[in-house]
């Protein structure tokens, strides 16, 4: 029945492992469900049905011990801090209930869905858990999928651009069928390998919506004139704008909007403290029959970003990770003893903490020609002393080399990181001489063909001072190559616009966002697909706008990347996908489209003593770990009885 994970694994892992990981074989049984103490009063009063009726008929049973975790005890609050009220929405990344989601080995597993039947990555049949309910108690059914597909995605008033892009294959939408109230099917003519990975994204595309709730704001189901009046009172032109505002599953700003996530919002914004309460209808249980999450309430205090480390140091957070970074580690360590918490050091899963992006679409003709010369980009890379950078920026703990995947990804190969990334100023100088960038004086600057000095302005987002420090060091290394590097920090919006229009020569930013990919994740970051990629903004524009603006890709090696990406998209064969990934990564190492430096910064995670089941060592990233989402925060629990005490209400 669950064909997809099996196929995945078959390509990657040995057969023995399948028997353990496949939910069909491993599904543990539960003798009896235990009522959640938090809800005992409400159940006794009759406000909530008892546990047996709240859970789906087939809940997802989590075998914690098989994964080396402890079976917990329900109860207690976890306090965290957000920099601004809107950031509470990251709970949907950290809670991470998805139709299908990644597990800790980055395998796709059905989560909210009971099972998925998949045929050649073309036909996907979703099986909903019988008896699964929204957080308000209404049943979760095929209607919720149908509502999104027919009344939202394909409603020109709500989505003038049509269904989301990942649901189109060569511009064509899938055929959508409701087979029975608990089964829906999406089928394409060609494979759509992006479909399931996108559903596991930290920003859930929500191809299901709480239809029973949202219909009251939808003109097909409610009085349009009344809705329009309501919209105008909120400064909107029509009901469509109002609907879009209310149907904001990812914003998590409306306590009335039902959810399937482990915790639901109970505080109406605006506020300085937000309470989330456990979802009484959540679909996961442990083997002891306790409904997850273990933690009753998650509380977010709003505090200035600059105070986060200080507040953690004062013991005011039980769990804190977003908003901290490596430079906070000393102050976090300092307060550990006194305030009873510990600081875990996870690894950032970025391709490079600092990468340089020569703009291949630069409008200055001389630099455009230079940036497009692979010898020039290689020379720049060979001229960087990454060991010194590592010592200066990451206490020597980072991984030196190209902007590429990290060890830990099944796609990692040593040469991707090392090719063209050794410190070799002699070779770099030789390459620069060969290009014809001559020096007039022995130790002076090189000259551009039009007589200007070789001065490269590297532009970056002014918020990131660590990067600016790194660039200052690179400027020293490049001086030996006869190149002057000028650092220009500025506002990010301005930087983006300058890059998109070709005004920048080179910019600096983080490397790959997802540096621990598996072959089933789309290699979109490696190909010229988006204008956000600082190396080739205009190519990306051209692809995004289907040729109406930007420039067509005109370098053969980059055309190869686009071709490989298309090959990845068109196949359902994991071996081909793996080969495509490896070829693209090698292409990047050889061509130095972006010049990586050091990767693997440590990310501090502050955890109050007594909060168990938090991994000691893990990757921290947006994609694919969904912040801490894939580590299942619904399984964290308090080992200290006092912390599990009845919450103040």
């Amino acid at each position: 029945m669950i064909e997809h994970p099996v196929r995945l694994l078959a390509a990657l892992l040995s057969l023995t492992l399948i028997a353990i990981l496949n939910p069909l074989h491993a599904s543990p049984s539960v003798a009896a469900f235990k009522e959640t103490p938090f809800f005992a009063d409400r159940v006794a009063r009759g406000d909530l049905p008892p546990i047996g009726e709240r859970l789906p008929a087939k809940p997802l049973v989590v075998d914690l011990e098989a994964r080396g975790r402890k079976i917990g005890i329900q109860g207690g609050d976890v306090i965290s801090i957000v920099a601004r009220a809107r950031d509470i929405r990251y709970i949907s990344a950290n809670g991470y209930a998805r139709l299908v989601g990644y597990d800790q080995d980055f395998m796709l597993k059905p989560d909210i869905l009971e099972a998925i039947d998949e045929q050649d990555e073309r036909i996907f049949t979703f099986h909903i858990r019988p008896g699964h309910r929204w957080s308000d108690g209404a049943p979760f059914t095929a209607e919720d999928f149908r509502f999104f597909w027919q009344d939202v995605a394909n409603n020109p008033a709500l989505m003038p651009s049509g269904p989301p892009e990942f649901m189109l294959v060569n511009g064509k939408p899938p055929r959508f069928e409701v087979i029975d109230p608990l089964t829906v099917r999406y089928s394409w003519d060609q494979p759509n390998p992006r479909f399931l990975p996108q559903l596991a994204n930290p920003l859930d595309p929500f191809i299901y919506r709480p239809a029973h709730y949202l219909k009251q704001f939808h003109a097909s189901f409610a009085d349009e004139a009344k809705l329009n009046d309501l919209a105008r009172s909120k400064k909107l032109k029509s009901w469509a704008g109002l609907y879009n505002r209310i149907d904001s599953m990812n914003e998590v700003s409306d306590p009335d909007l039902p959810t399937l996530q482990p915790w639901r919002l109970v505080t109406s914004p605006p506020a300085n403290r937000f309470y989330f309460e456990r979802n009484p209808f959540y679909h996961r249980v442990d083997t002891a029959g306790q409904q997850l999450p273990y933690i009753d309430r998650v509380i977010f205090d709003v505090a200035a970003a600059g105070l986060m480390a200080a507040k953690a140091n004062a013991g005011e957070a039980d769990l804190l990770f977003r908003g901290l970074n490596m430079s906070d580690i000393p102050i976090l360590k300092e307060g550990e003893q006194a305030k009873g918490y510990h600081t875990l050091l996870w690894r950032n899963a970025r391709g490079s903490e600092l990468a340089l992006f020569p703009n291949l679409n630069c409008s200055d003709p001389v630099f455009r020609k230079l940036n497009r010369d692979p010898r020039f980009r290689r020379a720049l890379s060979l001229g960087i002393d990454r060991e010194t950078l590592n010592m200066a920026l990451l206490f020597g703990l980072g991984a030196e080399g190209n902007n590429t995947v990290l060890a830990g990804s099944p796609l990692y190969r040593e040469e991707f990181r090392t090719t063209n990334a050794q410190f070799n100023p002699d070779e770099a100088n030789r390459l620069l001489d060969e290009i014809g960038l001559n020096r007039i004086y022995e130790d002076g600057l090189r000259q551009l063909p039009d007589g200007r000095n070789l001065e490269i302005t590297v532009e970056l987002d002014g918020d990131n001072m660590v990067m600016a420090d790194g660039l200052t060091l690179i400027a020293e290394f490049w001086r030996d190559l006869g190149i002057r590097l000028i650092v220009k920090p500025q506002d990010r919006a301005i930087l983006n616009n300058r890059t998109y229009s070709g005004q920048t020569i080179m910019s600096a930013s983080h490397g790959l966002d997802n540096a621990i990919p598996t072959p089933i994740m789309p290699p979109t970051e490696l190909a010229p697909m988006w204008q956000d990629n600082l190396s080739w903004p205009k190519w990306g524009q051209y692809v995004e706008t289907r040729g109406s603006s930007g420039e067509p890709i005109d370098i053969p090696a980059a055309q190869e990347l686009a071709r490989l990406y298309a090959e990845w998209l068109a196949t359902s064969d994991k071996e081909i996908q793996t080969r495509v990934w490896l070829q693209m990564l090698m292409n990047h190492a050889e061509n130095q489209w972006s010049i990586g430096t050091v990767a693997g910064a440590l990310h501090p995670i502050v955890v109050k003593d007594g909060l168990a089941n938090v991994p000691q060592n893990a990757f921290y990233s947006w994609l694919p770990t969904s912040l801490i989402g894939i580590y299942r925060s619904d399984e964290f629990f308090w080992t200290i009885p006092e912390r599990r005490g009845a919450p103040k209400q």
């Binding site: 306090i79 601004r84 009220a85 809107r86 989505m159 003038p160 651009s161 989301p164 892009e165 990942f166 994204n201 930290p202 920003l203 595309p205 105008r232 009172s233 909120k234 400064k235 909107l236 032109k237 029509s238 469509a240 704008g241 879009n244 505002r245 700003s253 505080t267 914004p269 605006p270 506020a271 300085n272 403290r273 205090d301 709003v302 505090a303 200035a304 600059g306 105070l307 200080a310 507040k311 004062a314 005011e316 506002d491 919006a493 301005i494 983006n496 616009n497 966002d513 988006w530 956000d532 995004e544 706008t545 947006w622 994609l623």
Partner: protein, 340 residues
């Protein structure tokens, strides 16, 4: 007097109109708008929000109309989606970031801002005036030098740095939670005694930090003003006629030296709302300052515009009040006539 008032009110209206236009256009100057920023942020997180969707939302929010039209709609001089509804009609506009009317966003923050800044103003006066009198009457004494030293330190100390240091030690020594205006446990709780107590204990650091610079400046100015007056003949005469020194001091030179402070009310009023932005940011106070900064960064145009305009209003009214009070207090000032 009435003629003067009328003339002043007309000039005030005109200057507010000009200020409102300036504020709005300057907020709109940077490239992009709230929604394009928003969409860039979403894309950075891997949601491929397409350009078409952005266009739809921009239209829905009316951000596609020309700037002058957006301005006039905001002002209430041009029909928006909801007819004439702008500042002139008492509608403060809509905040995109909070998805709420500006009135609701500012509401609570405004009161807390007033509380913090009022506390700081009182602190400044209560501390500065006695010290200034002391150091003026005992010029070049040890106490005077000590006050001067204190004053210069207060002027030179970057307030945000002091804020961080005080915050850290007030947490270490007194267990006061870091940042905010009361303990996180009291968020959303009704205003009872423990919450007020928590508010008061949290007010100490902001009050001292915000007030310190002002206190130092006030000591220096008050001292200088008083020194000017102390050598004048009326004061010498009063003392010579046997008036008790304290009474003589407070009755004449002290009153004279207050004049510049009344002239300062025009600056004090807007300061009550928009002052202390930096300190509020550092201390994470739920006041108007951080809201204003975030709104400007995000180009949440109506929210930012309203706060700035409101501050401008207070400045203009403050000026009027201080002019009127000066005229009333100081018989040497005559209104509306060129004195010869």
């Amino acid at each position: 007097m009435i003629g003067f008032l009328l003339r002043r009110i007309v000039t005030m209206a005109v200057s507010l109109l000009i200020i409102s236009a300036l504020v709005f256009f300057i907020i709109k100057l940077p490239p992009g708008d709230f929604l394009s920023n928003q969409i860039a942020e979403l894309r950075a997180q891997g949601e491929g929000a397409s350009a078409e969707k952005a266009a739809f939302l921009i239209k829905e929010y009316g951000l596609d109309s020309p700037i002058w039209e957006q301005y006039l709609v905001w002002l209430g001089a041009w029909p928006g989606p909801n007819g004439f509804s702008g500042l002139l009609q008492g509608d403060w506009g809509w905040s995109f970031e909070y998805e709420r009317p500006v009135r609701e966003v500012i509401g609570d923050a405004l009161w807390l801002t007033l509380a913090v800044n009022l506390a700081a103003v009182i602190f400044v006066h209560v501390v500065a005036i006695p010290i200034a009198i002391y150091s003026a009457t005992r010029q070049y004494s040890f106490g005077d030098y000590a006050a001067t030293l204190f004053g210069y330190i207060g002027l030179a100390m970057p307030s945000f740095l002091l804020a961080l240091i005080l915050l850290f030690y007030s947490n270490r020594w007194f267990g006061i939670s870091i940042g905010g205006l009361y303990d996180p446990d009291f968020y959303g709780a009704p205003w009872d005694w423990p919450k007020v107590k928590s508010l008061l204990s949290h007010l100490v650091v902001p009050t001292v930090v915000i007030g310190l610079g002002g206190t130092a400046a006030m000591i220096r100015r008050m001292r200088a003003n008083l020194l000017d007056e102390l050598n004048k003949q009326y004061y010498v005469t009063a003392k010579a006629k046997g008036m008790p020194p304290t009474r003589a001091l407070l009755k004449y030179p002290f009153r004279m030296s207050l004049n510049p402070f009344i002239a300062d009310i025009g600056n004090l009023l807007p300061h009550l709302v928009s002052g202390s932005v930096l300190v509020s940011l550092v201390l994470s106070l739920p006041t108007v300052g951080p809201i204003l900064l975030a709104a400007l960064l995000k180009q949440d145009q109506y929210l930012a515009g309203f706060i700035l305009l409101f501050t401008a209003c207070l400045t203009v009214f403050g000026m009027l009040i201080s002019d009127l009070m000066l005229a009333w207090l100081d018989p040497r000032i005559r209104l509306g006539r060129r004195s010869r």
